[in-house]
């Protein structure tokens, strides 16, 4: 199996990217594959248990107890859901464009998982320590649009079509604000490498970029909520008006692929916010013995906090109207980010301590 992959699929790329003997290449590829699995399994488990956490947390916010039947405290619920979805029929509508209909969910899952390749989990644990990390993240989050618009188009259903038009216009509108916020982080850190961005925040709680980049931090996270089409920006799914939006025609495993992509994207946005604005794996108590040690646990705690915010928003805010969403994206977020870009670049050029000296 592995021999086949190496000889037939990867060798043209591997050979040109990595000039070395075939054994070294094979070892390197095997090493990368193992690391990929070590990253993917926690991400997929995280996706499964994020759905459980969502139902449980929203349940308690609404004074219910949420799922509690499958296993102790309902902990096996995501596994039961996954099994059930696996054994459901995948319906391909007769009017649909079959090839595109099948490609769409795969195309939306692949970038949301592949983006994890450049995420640093601590000072050394990163799969691909590349210099263009942030550019790669921006490129892959942009690709998510294709899965949605292809799904809406290929379904040949009015709800799917309307949902995907809304989703795409919304995603690209917030993509701009998000891109500007990323540029602000770049100016502050002076590097595209995500590990270097965290190292640039070394010092204390006040050295983290949330303080000098406060408006960009808020804009980035809210744009992330809009990018993933989560409540209160979920007009593309809007179950009370257009049923389920772009994935209305998908059932069974095809639907759950979309679902996994959405939750993996939520986790990605949360971990990126933690890395770029909240010091990544750095401890908030830097200098204190034991508690001040940098650790992956801090990164996971920060990520969980932002994931909790996603769920909290969903339980708290009513859905925005579409013109309000567009107004927020174009007329509020973009002006804020442009102004703050100028402010940050002035701070950097003037070398204002404690962040940029």
């Amino acid at each position: 199996m592995f021999e086949f992959i190496r000889n037939n699929l990867l060798s043209p790329f591997v050979g040109s990217l990595f000039p070395a003997s075939i054994e070294v290449q094979a070892l390197y590829t095997l090493d990368a594959l193992i690391k990929i699995i070590v990253i993917l399994i926690p991400v997929l488990l995280g996706v499964a248990y994020l759905t459980y956490a969502e139902r449980k947390i929203i349940g308690y916010i609404q004074v219910r107890i949420g799922p509690n039947r499958v296993g102790p405290l309902g902990l096996l619920q995501p596994i039961a859901d996954a099994l059930k979805l696996t054994f459901k029929e995948i319906i391909i509508p007769s009017g649909a464009n079959k090839k595109l209909f099948i490609i769409a969910p795969i195309l939306s899952l692949a970038p949301s998982l592949a983006a994890w390749a450049v995420i640093p989990f601590n000072d050394v644990a990163v799969l691909a320590d590349i210099n263009a990390g942030l550019l790669y993240i921006l490129a892959l989050t942009s690709l998510a649009v294709y899965g949605i618009i292809i799904a809406g188009w290929a379904s040949n259903s009015k709800y799917a079509f309307i949902g995907s038009m809304r989703a795409v216009a919304q995603i690209i509108a917030y993509e701009i604000a998000m891109g500007f916020a990323l540029v602000g982080v770049l100016i502050a850190a002076g590097s595209l490498n995500l590990g270097d961005i965290v190292r640039a925040q070394d010092g204390s709680l006040l050295h983290w970029f949330w303080l000098p980049l406060w408006p960009l931090f808020i804009v980035f996270f809210l744009a992330g909520v809009a990018e993933t089409n989560r409540a209160p920006f979920d007009v593309s799914e809007g179950e009370s008006e257009i049923v389920a939006g772009f994935h209305v025609e998908y059932g069974g495993m095809a639907f759950s692929i979309f679902f996994m992509a959405e939750y993996a994207n939520m986790m990605l946005i949360s971990i990126l916010t933690a890395i770029m604005f909240c010091g990544g794996w750095l401890s908030p108590f830097q200098g204190v013995p034991f508690l001040g040690e940098p650790s992956i646990i801090w990164l996971l705690m920060k990520t969980s906090f932002f994931l909790f915010l996603f769920l909290w928003f969903r339980a708290t805010f009513p859905r925005y109207r579409y013109d309000q969403i567009m107004r927020l994206g174009w007329k509020v977020f973009i002006p804020i980010t442009i102004v703050w870009l100028v402010v940050v670049s002035v701070l950097v050029v003037a070398q204002i301590p404690p962040w940029f000296d």
């Binding site: 990867l10 790329f13 591997v14 990217l17 990595f18 390197y28 594959l33 990929i36 993917l40 696996t86 029929e89 995948i90 319906i91 391909i92 509508p93 007769s94 009017g95 899952l109 692949a110 998982l113 592949a114 390749a117 799969l127 691909a128 320590d129 590349i130 550019l135 790669y136 188009w153 259903s157 009015k158 079509f161 309307i162 038009m165 216009a169 509108a173 993509e175 701009i176 891109g179 500007f180 540029v183 770049l186 100016i187 002076g190 590097s191 025609e249 069974g252 495993m253 095809a254 759950s256 692929i257 579409y322 013109d323 567009m326 973009i334 442009i338 870009l341 100028v342 670049s345 050029v349």
Partner: protein, 118 residues
């Protein structure tokens, strides 16, 4: 250097493969009993009364055009932002002029109503 990008390529293949695998598993484990009602487009129980690929509002198209302009600006800002500390005041002011031109264009769009959704 380029070898650092190899794991990313493999990761892309793995995640594409995972997506395909899940789809195939779902396709073979699930039942497959299509009928004409089941395969018709979902429209809350009614028969579909016109083609779904209908006309849509031109403003979606306008948003896409504006997106291209602004995304290009971001592409220009990326290398500038990384190099800011080494290009000095000349580089700083050059980008401020560029941003000024961008803001003039943005105000023009705003005043012309390209950003309205009423």
């Amino acid at each position: 250097m380029l070898a650092n990008y190899l794991p990313i390529l493999i990761f892309l293949f793995v995640s594409l493969g995972l997506g395909c695998m899940l789809f195939v598993i779902g396709y073979f484990l699930g039942p497959n009993r299509p009928d004409s009602e089941k395969e018709s487009p979902y429209e809350c129980g009614f028969a579909a009364f016109e083609d779904a690929r209908m006309q849509f509002d031109v403003r979606y198209y306008l948003v896409a055009i504006l997106f291209i302009i602004f995304d290009l600006e971001i592409a220009f800002l990326f290398p500038w932002a990384v190099a800011l500390e080494s290009i000095g005041m000349a580089g700083f002011w050059a980008m401020m002029i560029f941003l000024g031109v961008l803001v003039v264009g943005f105000i023009y769009e705003w005043r012309r109503g390209a950003l309205e959704w009423e």
